[in-house]
């Protein structure tokens, strides 16, 4: 039981002392709480005696108040109660601060560890999981685990200390009454545990229904054109009303359980009080108990309600937390597949020669290989263009160079060194990569450009922006390079984003630059200017450019056509045009397209 939560032991160990102190403070705090009812009881007894014209009365064998002057004695008792309460307040403050803070610390540690682990997992892992699932683990699941660390732990000790303390005092004072009172109180945790399941189940059903409503809305709003075209509005309304009605019904089903649960708790608490009132009164009338003790019992019942209810609650919370921890663990236990081998060596200075030898690659879970037997040598300092139909394996090839996916040994070499045997960090630092799908972070433009070179100065940022033809756009912004992008800032057009992404790669000044169809949203004119500037910057460096627009890559030293994972043509523009294959066809076609645009 609770196997998954045991993983947390190593986190606990870090805060062992603090935790111990917290529990100790909790113990003191609870001791004060348990001490208050007897003191109040004494005060009541003393008042009773004063009322009857008698003496003050202490607690038999504990406090003897016979020597005190009446008023003095009462004041002493009141001050004692207030003193105990103040002490309790201090310890209560301390225990909360210690225990809850530590739970937050562990939560924080766990969250950071989770995040750090995610960073180690390769793209192939992310291809098969949903971001939402990964997010849920560090939000809702972590929340549930935190509940087990803080509140649950606190409640467990709280229940333990208070019930033990109260029970001992009650047993000392009136053992039989103590036992009778405990009977209904013992029902409380059982009741909470009993209702916990159904309440959670019904709550989940509501959540699911809410999800269905969400989906229905999304579907309706996304398909609104079809709905309007076929005049289905009335039908959609009917459908939605049914879903909505079902949601109300499920909510009321939950309300029915809850409506029973809470009043039932009160009822049982009420029974415990009734026991005290009736049996206590009988004892008082019989003269074996005094009013103060009756009041003390009454207060203890009040004191015990919450810890008893909490006990049942704790069980439910712990189960949830364990399940959540299991989900978090399943990610933490994923082993990274792309990492530095023990014998990984530094890459050193890179000239930029890239060679693939009979390179075959299949995406995990796929049957057809994305690349099949690719042999290609890219000379250091040359510019190579890769073209071909979508899905032919162009992107895969360049991704493998950066070792985003794992290739076998002795397949892919940079400067003659096997990419799987050099330090990953060095390899990636040697490659400036502009991916097909531009991803920018919601940070300033400058921060995005110097993403891979955090120490770059303003001048370098501007130069990179200049090369990628984004500088003019940026200077038009009021905030310039400090402008924040993304949800909380401005959104750039697709072409602008691509140009920022190019600047981000250019600033690295890496020996190898890869543009993976990175100019698709840039207009032809700008594309040509960018490539022209790049040619300047990339002198004596290796560039690989994947493009669909053939006019802009004519100048490349070597043009490689990949179709269906194989190299089908290779050569310069002039050579390929003579060949009359894919390249020549596509080139002619694109010329035709361009002529149409000029009309």
């Amino acid at each position: 039981m609770l196997k998954n939560l045991r993983t947390l032991r190593k986190y606990f160990r870090r805060y062992r002392r603090g935790m111990l102190a917290g529990v100790l403070f909790l113990l003191f705090c609870n001791a004060c709480e348990v001490a208050i009812p007897p003191v109040i009881g004494m005060a009541v007894n003393s008042l009773r005696n004063l009322q009857a014209g008698g003496q003050l009365q202490g607690l038999k064998g504990v406090v003897d108040l016979t020597g005190y002057a009446p008023l003095q004695g009462i004041v002493f008792l009141v001050l004692a109660v207030i003193f105990v309460q103040l002490t309790r307040a201090v310890f209560s403050f301390l225990q909360r601060t210690f225990i809850v803070r530590i739970s937050r610390r562990i939560e924080c540690d766990l969250r950071v560890d989770y995040f750090a682990h995610l960073q180690k997992l390769p793209p192939s892992y992310y291809d098969n999981v949903k971001t939402g699932d990964l997010m849920a683990r560090c939000t809702n699941d972590l929340l549930a685990v935190r509940m087990a660390l803080g509140p649950c732990l606190m409640l467990i000790f709280n229940t333990l200390f208070i019930s033990a303390g109260a029970l001992i005092v009650m047993l000392v004072v009136k053992p039989d009454l103590a036992l009778y009172v405990m009977i209904p109180l013992m029902v409380l945790p059982a009741l909470t545990g009993l209702f916990g399941g159904p309440i959670r189940k019904r709550f989940q059903k509501i959540q699911e229904q809410f999800g269905d409503i969400n989906i229905a809305c999304q579907e309706n709003f996304s398909g609104i054109r079809v709905i309007k075209a076929f005049v289905r509005e009335e039908h959609e309304r009917k459908k939605f009303r049914a879903l909505n009605r079902e949601y109300a019904i499920k909510n009321i089903a939950l309300a029915k359980v809850r409506a029973l649960f809470r009043p039932l708790l009160f009822l049982i608490v009420g029974i415990a009080f009734a026991v005290v009132y009736w049996m206590g009164s009988v004892k008082v009338i019989a003269g074996v108990m005094n009013i103060g003790e009756l009041i003390m019992f009454e207060m203890y019942v009040g004191l015990l309600i919450f810890p008893m209810v909490a006990l049942g609650w704790v069980v439910v919370l712990l189960q949830q937390a364990d399940a959540s921890m299991g989900r978090i663990k399943s990610v933490l236990e994923q082993s990274p597949t792309i990492f530095d081998r023990a014998e990984a060596e530094p890459l050193g200075d890179v000239a930029g020669e890239i060679e693939s030898r009979n390179l075959t690659f299949t995406y995990p879970g796929c049957e057809r290989p994305a690349l099949a037997g690719v042999n290609l040598r890219i000379a250091a300092g040359s510019t190579v263009a890769i073209v071909g139909p979508a899905g032919s394996g162009k992107s895969t090839f360049v991704k493998l160079i950066a070792r985003l996916y794992e290739v076998g040994e002795n397949r892919l070499f940079i400067d003659g060194k096997d990419v799987t045997k050099v330090r990953l960090k060095d390899l990636r630092a040697a490659v400036g990569f502009v991916p097909q799908e531009t991803f920018l972070f919601s940070d300033s433009i400058a921060a995005n450009i110097k993403y891979g070179a955090p120490d770059a100065d303003e001048e370098a940022v501007r130069r990179a922006a200049d090369v990628s033809q984004i500088s003019a756009d940026v200077e038009q912004l009021r905030e310039g390079y400090a402008q924040i992008l993304g949800e909380r800032g401005i959104s750039l057009s697709g072409g602008q984003k691509q140009r920022v992404a190019i600047a981000r790669a250019v600033i690295l000044d890496a020996p190898i630059l890869i543009l993976d169809d990175a100019l698709s949203s840039v207009d032809t004119h700008t594309e040509e200017r960018i490539l022209e500037r790049l040619r300047d910057v990339m002198k004596r460096r290796t560039s690989i450019i994947i493009s669909h627009r053939l006019s802009s890559i004519q100048y490349a030293d070597n043009i490689v056509v990949i179709e269906d994972g194989r190299i089908t043509e290779q050569g310069t523009h002039a050579e390929l045009m003579k060949g009359g294959g894919f390249y020549a066809e596509t080139y002619k076609r694109q010329q035709l397209e361009d002529s149409l645009l000029d009309l």
Binding site: R48, Q85, F115, N214, C217, H235, R237, A259, P263, A370
Partner: protein
Amino acid sequence: MMNGRGEKDFFEDEALGKAFDARLVKRLLKYLRPYKWRVVLAVFLLLVISNSMLAWPYVLKRIVDILTSKDLTAAQQMNSVGMLTVFFAGLILIRFAADYVSTITVNIIGQNVVYDIRTQVFSHLQRMSLRFFDRNPVGRLMTRVTNDVESLNQFISMGVVTTFQDVFMLGGILIWMFAFDVRLTLIIVVAVVPFIVGLTLWFKAKSRSAYRAVRMRLARINAYANENITGMNMVQLFNRQEKNRDRFSNLSRDFRGEWFRAIFYHAVYFPGIEILGTVAAGVIICYGAAMYLGASISTASLGTLIAFLGWIGMFFQPIRDLAEKYNVMQAAMASSERIFKILDRPEEITNPAKPRPLRGFKGRMEFKNVWFAYNDENWVLKDVSFTVEPGRKVAFVGATGAGKTSIINLICRFYDIQRGRILIDGKDIREIDKYELRKNIGLVLQDVFLFSGDIRGNIRLGEERITDEKVAQAAEHVNAARFIERLPGGYRSEVQERGATLSVGERQLLSFARALAYDPSVLILDEATSNIDTQTEILIQDAVEKLMKGRTSIVIAHRLSTIRKVDNIIVLHKGEIKEEGTHEELLRKGGIYYRLYQLQYRDINGRRMRPVEEPERVAIDPPLPDTDYGEHEWQ
């Protein structure tokens, strides 16, 4: 218990604003009107509950008074205490029943109101024009219908109803206390209550700001994590792991720091309240002592003093609850404001009050100098005029963004034009019933949108008059029956995940069947451009021919086979009609059509550029349907 909604809301912007707006509240309360008797019942039951709570200390008082009485014999005491215990038992039973019934009643009211509002909002959205949907992202509209309405539930159950309970409790406590000892009550009200209220208000203000900070920090953490997960490739390519981890760690620590602040307020408030309670108890005890020692301040019995201890203990919860209301009200005001804004939005494409009848619909369509823009003056169609005679088939061709899709949108009156006229059977499109018009048109869109549900439901779209037989006939006619019948569930097969299990070609055929099932007099077809395997392609070509047969048809053609079958081809270029004629005429002309033809319809050496797509891999997320319609992309 854990609140499932809590975390989700953290992602949303903090909506801050007034906690009370008389105009909004008045309008919200209107939704309670249909349930006014239930509301009355709930309020009455709350009154019962609070009084049964308040009578509790009174029972204790009576017991203590009896036990301390010098005049009663033991038997009499037993008798009286017995009666009181029975009375007490009755009290807790009544409370139990009242609590049970009132909880259910309040929930029924809340759920009904939520149901009413949500249905109304959804229903209203169905009337909104496509322009409205273009401008409002699906996510935002979803939030209105789901979360915003949900927070109104809070308003009903926590805002309206429990306010009564809190007020009843506070008022009740004071009344009971005053009834038994005016002086003691006054002392307590002056000496303790202000501190309770003060401390509670302090706590609420502080913790509210702390929680707001907590939520903001959490939103930041989550946004950062989300971004890093989606952009993990970039993180790894640019060797950013350590830097980002540090940043994340800092964000997490900030978040933790805000929690520490919230913990501090909690750690001060709750013990503080206990101290105040003890001070009150001390006051009561000293008061009693002084009284019994001869100060003639009161004649309260010991029981009364003990009852006071009980009532004081009940003071805290309602005060805390009332302070809590602020948040609930604030959220409700913000949500209701957003909801009412949608409800107050008039229908853009209004139906004429007295539509001209479309009886004997022929399907003559005429555009007269039509100018149209999706926004402002970015003209998508410029001075477009053409006529489609009943029974004729017309094809529109042009490059992407030429304005073809807009023509379709206008014929269906999804948008209203800025200049010119559109006539249907000689009547202005704005003077006829738009629903009537659309019922006469069968629209087949390029991107086939499938609804969750089975194949049959997707053909029938909920129209009950279309029988299963008719569905099957339609499917048979457009060559869809064959693949449908091959599916494991036949017509009952679920269309999973937005049609992920059906190929593009199959979805296309399905949408043909959908159009045919409605047997429209006019067919509008936006042909898909995507690559389809040869076998299905033949089926589609055949189906298109059958669909057009005997119907006035407007086709945005991408297939040579289709173009060959139409009577007239209209060439659109950058929003203007440039050429018009038959296939042969236009080819001979050697203009735009000639080039388009070479580009789109004649496969070069049988090879066609495939549309850009991801490398074939396991489908992870089903693609969301495109909400931008052609024209927007290039504006």
